[in-house]
Amino acid sequence: MFEELSDATFDGRIAEVKAGVCIFYKQLCPHCKNMEKVLEKFSRLQPEVTLLSVDIEQNPVSAGVCGAERAPTIIVIRDGKVAGRKAGLMNPREMAQFFDSCR
């Protein structure tokens, strides 16, 4: 469900995405696992949204550019650009509101 990005592929792929959400995660972060499930649920309601993911520890350049110090950090992508960023856990309702607020 999530397309995994790396420092090498991040910029190019983001530029192609019309509407998407990217989760910056860490392997052993319990909240990240939780947030992935929230995004899967969110995506079932909004199937046109592309889901992307980046491992913070393996891809420090992308994480640094996007200010993803905390895990999870969620960025919203609109028309190939980063339209919003939020760190921490959200429930599906909060995630939908955050996505809608990033215009």
Partner: protein, 307 residues
């Protein structure tokens, strides 16, 4: 309009107690659904190393829970994660469990909701207050943070914070002594980068222009108050019972736990409970799985006799 789903057993909570109950229930041919508000695994997901679960000398908590989950998936248990239970109707022969996406009608319910972390209670709130060193520690590399709590979690997470590059930790415990294992205490304090204070509580947080700059501390024995300049706060104060769903419909202890019988009966026919939500002396993964086993077998016996 919510979908109406009829099933034999609904288990609320997907930690070790709930997943073990599901394992036994589905093997007893009960049609079983697990409803979990977050992701399966419960508090064990936040345990860095589990060293007291038989057959695994040492394993990361999340990895152990993934193995438990894989086992129930293999058996065909339906698991709904990120699922908010909105209401319960436990009286009557058929029980009703309403979630954000469906209405379950079932013959029996097992409550395995566990516990949730205690929050830091201060008049001033700050966004720099966290409960997970792995998630948020790296953001404070090279800086000074406050750790609140003196149990195993506080000390283990502090060790992780130091490994993440935190420059200095001030650790406070409200009681007159620390409760973490002696060896972990020695390991942490021998780093030379940690100041510890017992009988000390956080009176308030200091926030300037929306950014945390420090905390006001108080020693309860001497009454001395002082401030520490910190960029972040990590709270490990223990847990409280996660009983909000049923606190008005089930008799609970003064502390908010379910007083279950030896057979995990709650007092309402067809309603059982298991794991950390039960009133008991010891809360371990092993005691949770034992409770889950008994609750499922009791539920099976109840369903066979009542339906």
């Amino acid at each position: 309009m919510r979908e109406v789903i009829t099933t034999d057993l609904v288990i609320i909570g997907g930690g070790p107690a709930g997943m073990t109950a599901a394992l036994y229930a589905v093997r007893a041919k009960l049609k079983t659904v697990v409803l979990e508000s977050n992701v399966t695994g419960g508090l064990v997901n936040s345990t860095y190393t589990v060293e007291n679960f038989p057959s695994w000398p040492s394993i990361h908590g999340m990895e152990l829970m993934e193995k438990m989950r894989a086992q129930i998936d293999e058996l065909g248990v339906t698991v709904e994660e990120v699922c908010e239970v909105e209401s319960l109707e436990l009286d009557g022969q058929w029980k009703k469990v309403v979630t954000d996406s469906a209405e379950y009608r079932c013959k029996a319910v097992i409550l395995a909701t566990g516990r949730v972390p205690l929050e830091l209670d201060t008049p001033t709130q700050a966004q720099e207050v966290h409960h997970c060193a792995i998630c948020d520690g790296a953001a404070y590399a090279g800086r000074h943070v406050l750790v609140v709590g003196g149990g195993n979690s506080a000390f283990d997470e502090s060790l992780y914070l130091l490994a993440s590059g935190i420059e200095h930790i001030t650790l406070v415990e409200a009681m007159p002594r620390y409760f973490a294992a002696e060896s972990t205490q020695e390991q942490l304090f021998s780093s030379g980068r940690v100041d510890g204070f017992v009988s000390t509580k956080v009176v308030d947080l200091i926030v300037k222009d929306g950014v945390l700059t420090g905390a006001l501390l108080e020693n309860s024995e001497s009454g001395r108050r002082w401030t520490v300049d910190v960029a972040g706060v990590f709270v490990f104060l223990g847990q409280k019972p996660n009983n909000s769903l049923f606190k008005d419909i089930l008799p609970l202890t003064k502390q908010g736990y379910i007083k279950a019988s030896e057979l995990m009966e709650t007092g309402i026919p067809g309603v059982f409970s298991a794991g950390d939500i039960n009133d008991k002396a010891f809360r371990q993964i092993t005691t949770a799985v034992a409770d889950g086993t008994i609750a499922a077998l009791s539920a099976e016996r109840y369903i066979r006799s009542a339906f």
